[in-house]
Symmetry: C2
Amino acid sequence: MTDHLLSKGARGRPRRFDPNAALITGRALFHTHGYEALGIAAITEALGIRPASFYAAFGSKAAYFERIAEAYVAEVLPLEAFFRDDCPIVDSIAELLGEAARTYTTCSDQAGCLVLEALRADRSGEGRRIAMRVAQIRREKLQAFIARGAPAVAFIATDVVTVTMAGMSAAARDGVSCVCLEQVAAVATVGLRSLIEGSA
Amino acid sequence: MTDHLLSKGARGRPRRFDPNAALITGRALFHTHGYEALGIAAITEALGIRPASFYAAFGSKAAYFERIAEAYVAEVLPLEAFFRDDCPIVDSIAELLGEAARTYTTCSDQAGCLVLEALRADRSGEGRRIAMRVAQIRREKLQAFIARGAPAVAFIATDVVTVTMAGMSAAARDGVSCVCLEQVAAVATVGLRSLIEGSA
DNA sequence: TAAATTATGTAGCGATCAATCAATAAATTC
DNA sequence: GAATTTATTGATTGATCGCTACATAATTTA
């Protein structure tokens, strides 16, 4: 329980809070309020610590968010889990879009994708820079997966998936239900199937 | 040129700026920077006036934005221009999505839809409230148009169009090109055609 | 026990936010 | 010309932003 406080050979005064738990809490806070709208005051109050402790542990709000965003994409809708070589590419995409519909609507006050919504919320700030980088890495990974099964249309198919997921994330934020998004995902899949099979 | 200054029967000291021109300028500013990120200081500097003059003319930043947003939806991608009874509904949608692809990418520093991007940028503020209302009215109008040609699937088709346009606006903001978005629109149209024709 | 190290609490930094106040200037009406 | 009306200028207001300086507290190492 308090292992993190008494770690081996840690000199100096021990922390009174768990940085890992603080990342979990911060993830929920950023998902609910967005990057810009979530202030240090709200973060430190939720964590039960003072700003000085926050900055000693994480460096800056941007660095804190960056760690949270990277952990998020590694855990939520991991592309590796959807794209397997024994499965037609369009079926993988259909699964991904359907699961996105469900994931984006699981919690009403944390609707949509943490990264995609942060990307939209910031126009030029540090939050956008971070979300942009994380989203871009994910996009390239997605394109590589699609290229294995449909190289001729990998670029455009990636754009379609990206646009659809961004739109679904936005719609989820606006209150669109899970079943509606699942239907949207199904319609998008029809178009993608036509695109991919037409290129075979 | 200065007609607005010398309007008939206007008592009191005349304005030194044109409110209509200020709305045009503000539209470009909001489109570029977003609602939250655009401050009164930047607005008044761009208009060449002092904050007090701005508030005397428009009341508040929110009211200023509301007038701009309403003028925007009335002018940009007007639904009435796309949906005519002598035209299959899916063709109207295809035209709308294609034109959205072009509109959203005409100016790189004003990419995407002014209203949809404002909707995404604000999580709970006044900007979101306004953009939400404007977008909702537009959504209902779109659904009514689609229902005339495809009543059985009007709701889901409206969701598909809404999600696609929100995603295209986001992608345009992130630098996706016009031709890419046109291809995305074409793929989405394939799915919609299947949906609508399957319900006939 | 002394020195070194690290985290904490308190307090506040300068900047920016939307919005406003009082005083003044410029027009019309009487 | 005097009164009225409206817009202007200039200086702020209180709140909040991300962030930090400083002294103190709590731990390890020597």
